[in-house]
Each structure stands twice: as C-alpha cells, then as structure tokens.
C-alpha cells in the first residue's frame, strides 16, 4: 500500500533499474528484443494483410535478383562458348600441302595459340562431299576449287579483343589468303549480356523504390490504425524514439520476410528450369551447369531486404508520428 507514493523528493528506483550502467544496457537490449518480437507478433495477428505485403515485396525483390542470376549464368555460358572459338586460315591456291602442314606446325608453337589442324585441299573436298549433296556437281568441276585450310584454336585465356588481333596478324601471313572468325554473334551476345546486366540494375533500382513505397505505405496505415495508442503513449511520457521503434522493427520484418520470399521464388524457378536447361546445356560440349544464388548472395539479398524495409519505414514514420499529438 505505501509503495506507489510520491513524497516530493523523487526516490531513486531499485538498483536493478537505474543503478548501474550495465543494468541499464541490459534493460535497453531487453526492451529492443521484446519490441522486435512484439512487432513480429503484430504482423502475425494481421497475417493476411502482412502476408500480402510480404509477397509483393518478395516478388519485387525476386525480379532483379532473378535477372542477376540469369546474367551470371549467361556470363559463364558465353565464356565457355568463347573458349570454343576457332580461326579458319584459308591458304592461297599455290601453297602446297607440305608447306601448309609446315605452317600449321609452326603456328602451333606461337604465342596465344593452343593448337592447329591442317586440312589439305583434297581432305577438304572429301569432307565436303561427305557432308553435302553437291558430290556430283563437284565431280563435274574437274579441278578442286577448295583451298587448304588451317584451323587455329586460340588459347582459352585469350580475351575477345586479343583474339581479334590474332586474326589480323594471321591474315597478314604470306601464305594466307584470308582469315575468318565467326565472332560477330559472340560480340552480339556479350553486348546483349551487358544490356541485360544494365537492365537488371535499372529494374533493381526501380523495384527497390517500389519496396520503399510499399513498406512506407503499410507503416503509414499501421500508424493510422494505432493513433489512439500512440497518443496514450505520448501522454505517458514516451519519446519519439520509443514510439518509432516498433514501427521500424515492423519495417525490418517486412523487408526480411520479403527477401526470404524472393529467395524462395528464385529457388522455385531454379528447380522448375533446372531440368530442361541441363538437357539443353548437355547438348553443348563441356557440360554447363545452372547456378543459383550462392550463400553469400542470398545473405546479401536478405541484407538488402532489411535495409529497404527499415528505410521505407524511416522515411514515413517521423513525419507521421509528428502529426499525432494528444489533444
């Protein structure tokens, strides 16, 4: 009965609460932890609305993250295709099979070249006859129209630009009529990849802004619904930081759960596409495999989700709370 009294001079509270700095810190940490769980509980109580918000955030995050994974996979694919590039050296008609073979052997030892293979004019004709239905027409020609060819495989480590230089160099050789490299499609692929990569950043930025607005709006409605509670807390002497805290934690939960949904969406896509894609890539040499998000990238996505949720909340909550004053 005599407990809650005010005898003018404010008595100090128990030693557990204000006495030591450590006690205060523990109480502060406990109140944060409690707040974190309470805001999760609040999300759970209105789980349909929360789920919808989280799903929207999840899809918004999954789109740019999915593009990122796509670019990553296409990059590996492109570089493995790049490794299978070959340069064809068409020799002049007057170069004999022997000197052609010699040139091929010489080139094999040169810088930037992995291997060479000489195909004589006769051998070329034989292969062509086998592979096409022009056999009879070619017989009618009498003499062999095909030149000797050297197939040059550049070193795998050679970047595309250096391959281009190599082609120029080789085409200047005395015996070489012209050098051909069907690299145009590879350049286009690289350009397309750069475009998709850039697009994924642009889409990522736009959808991040969308996440900010989604979280901000959700929190705004949340604050509006709890107006009376906020007024009461202000009357009881709650500061802005105290009132803001549960809302910021709600934002963090929205972002985190949204990022988890995004990861689940990506895993689902991975599983749906993985089978057919591996059949496709198996048809190319070198058995390419589809890679999903790595552990580190998943953690990054979670961090981005949390940061967006927090920021989306922070930009609305101050303005909203300042507008609520007890009357």
């Amino acid at each position: 009965m005599p407990e809650p009294q005010s005898s003018g001079s404010s008595r100090s509270a128990g030693p557990a609460s204000r006495g030591s700095g450590r006690g205060r810190l523990a109480a502060w940490a406990a109140s944060h932890a409690r707040c974190l769980l309470e805001s999760l509980g609040r999300l759970h109580r209105r789980w349909v609305a929360s789920l919808l918000t989280v799903l929207v955030i999840g899809i918004a995050l999954a789109l740019p993250a999915g593009l990122y994974v796509l670019v990553k996979n296409l990059d590996t694919l492109a570089s493995s295709w790049h490794q299978s590039v070959r340069i064809s050296l068409y020799l002049k008609q007057d170069v004999s099979a022997d000197s052609g073979q010699r040139l091929a052997d010489d080139l094999a030892g040169e810088n930037g070249i992995s291997s060479t293979q000489f195909i004589s004019a006769d051998e070329g004709l034989r292969q062509f006859k086998q592979a096409s239905s022009f056999g009879a027409a070619l017989d009618a020609l009498g003499s062999n129209p095909l030149p000797g060819v050297i197939e040059v495989t550049p070193k795998a480590s050679l970047p595309p630009a250096a391959v281009g230089q190599l082609v120029d160099q080789l085409s200047k050789r005395r015996q070489v009529d012209h050098a051909a490299l069907d690299q145009a499609w590879l350049r286009r692929l690289t350009a397309i990849l750069a475009l998709i990569s850039r697009a994924s950043w642009v889409i990522g930025a736009l959808l991040s802004a969308a996440v900010l607005f989604i979280v901000g709006n959700t929190i705004r409605l949340d604050i509006e619904n709890r107006r009376q509670e906020i007024e009461v807390m202000k009357l009881l002497g709650a500061g802005d930081a105290f009132i803001r805290r549960p809302f910021l934690y709600s934002g963090v939960w929205y972002g985190l759960l949204g990022a988890i949904v995004a990861i689940m969406v990506l895993v689902a896509c991975y599983m749906a596409l993985g089978g057919p894609l591996s059949t496709l890539t198996a048809s190319y040499q070198g058995g390419l495999s589809l890679t999903g998000l790595s552990l580190r990238e998943s953690a990054g996505l979670l961090a981005i989700g949390i940061a967006l949720g927090w920021a989306g909340c922070a930009i609305t909550v101050n303005r909203q709370l300042a507008a609520i004053e007890p009357r």
Partner: protein
C-alpha cells in the same frame, strides 16, 4: 518551494479567439488534494492540459514542482510527463494488452528492468485492489475496474503529481465513491492530487479544497 502547482496570471486563448482561462492564479501545496470544479467549458480541461504540457499558455506562468513549463522545450516534454501521473475520463487503456502490460507501460517507456517492473506493477495493482486481475484484458473488466487500472498506471511511476480529468465521468455513483476513496488513500500516502470533476455533490462533503472555475475565471481558491 512548497507548492507543487503554481499558476500566475495564466491566460489561455485558443486559435479562433475562444478565451478558455482568464488570468488564473492558483496554488496546490505539496501533498495537497484539491478538486477542480465547474460546468463543462469552464476551463477545467484546459487547466489540466496546461499542466500536462498538452497546451501552452497564451500568457502567464505555470510552475510545476519547481519547473517553469515555459522552459520545457518540446524534446523534453516526454521526460517531464513521466513525472506527472495522468488519469482520464475514458481511461485511455490499451485494449490489446493485459492489465499488467498496461500498468507497466510507463516503466517500459523509462527503460526500467523487468524484475523491477514486475515488482512495481504488482505493488501498484495491489494498491488499487486488482492484483488478481493482472493477466486479464481491460475489456473484460467493469468500468470502475478499468479506471482503477488507469490509476495504477498513473501511480506506478511515483509521480510528483496526479492529475485526474473527470475520473468518474463514466461511472455510476457507487463506483465513483469507490474511486474517490482510492484517491483519498493515495493522498494519505503523500501524493499531491488535482481532480477535475463536475460531480459537485459527490465531492462537497469530502472536506477537500475546491477550486471553482466559471467561464475561465477562478471563483474561489
């Protein structure tokens, strides 16, 4: 400084021109309990709002427990309010929390450790006779019980001053008398209390000072 409340020539004019308080000067001594009476619109609520720093005076000086409220900047209002226990006509409880959590709120706001909170909340609930109801939700309680939760919440922080604005406004006479007896008991333990009420018949025989307001003017003090 013996007065817990001191008003000096306080004028409050609301935007729009309505004069709510006109040169009001009054004192409440430390440990005193007084009733603030008057018809509705007489300025009782305005006077309470000035003490709670919900409104600022147009002119004049309000000093609470030695603090000149004009010098309390906006950022320091929360800390100031922690030392004033407010009790409302409509209780202002949070209905999604238990009785315990409602009473604990002022202590949670101040960042007090949970063992200390539990001790103080139980003591406050014991004072208002609701110790066995701590796990219930306010909606399951009667009006009188809800107001006692509100009082427990106001005293749990050991405030310098208890302010009650029409605390029995929503209660029938028997329950109102109960609540008034509770205030008397709290006052006997040394708490300064100011109670705004228009239930004059309820308080006139209680023997406490009555501060009467009429159209913003002080009638007797």
């Amino acid at each position: 400084m013996t007065d817990i409340v001191a008003f000096d020539n306080v004028v409050k004019r609301y935007p729009g021109g309505k004069l709510a308080l006109d040169r009001v000067s009054l004192r409440l001594a430390r440990g005193e309990m007084a009733f603030l009476t008057g018809h509705s619109g007489a300025g009782k609520s305005t006077l309470m709002k000035l003490i709670g720093l919900i409104e600022r005076p147009t002119r004049g000086r309000v000093v609470i427990n030695g603090t000149d409220l004009a010098k309390v900047r906006r950022a320091h209002i929360p800390r100031y309010r922690q030392r004033v226990g407010l009790i409302f006509q409509n209780y202002n409880l949070l209905y999604d929390r238990t009785v315990f959590d409602n009473v604990a709120l002022p202590l949670v706001i101040r960042g007090i450790g949970h063992t200390e909170i539990a001790r103080r909340v139980r003591a406050a609930l014991d004072t208002v006779g609701l110790l066995s109801h701590e796990k219930k939700f306010p909606i399951t309680l009667s009006g009188g019980e809800q107001q006692r939760v509100g009082i427990a919440r106001a005293v749990v922080n050991r405030p310098h001053l208890l302010l009650a604005d029409e605390p029995t406004g929503n209660l029938d006479p028997d329950l109102s008398a109960d609540i008034m007896r509770l205030f008397t008991r709290l006052n006997e333990t040394g708490t300064s209390i100011m109670i705004a009420t228009h239930a004059i018949d309820l308080v006139e025989h209680m023997g406490y000072r009555r501060i009467a307001l009429d159209h913003g003017h002080l009638e007797a003090g």
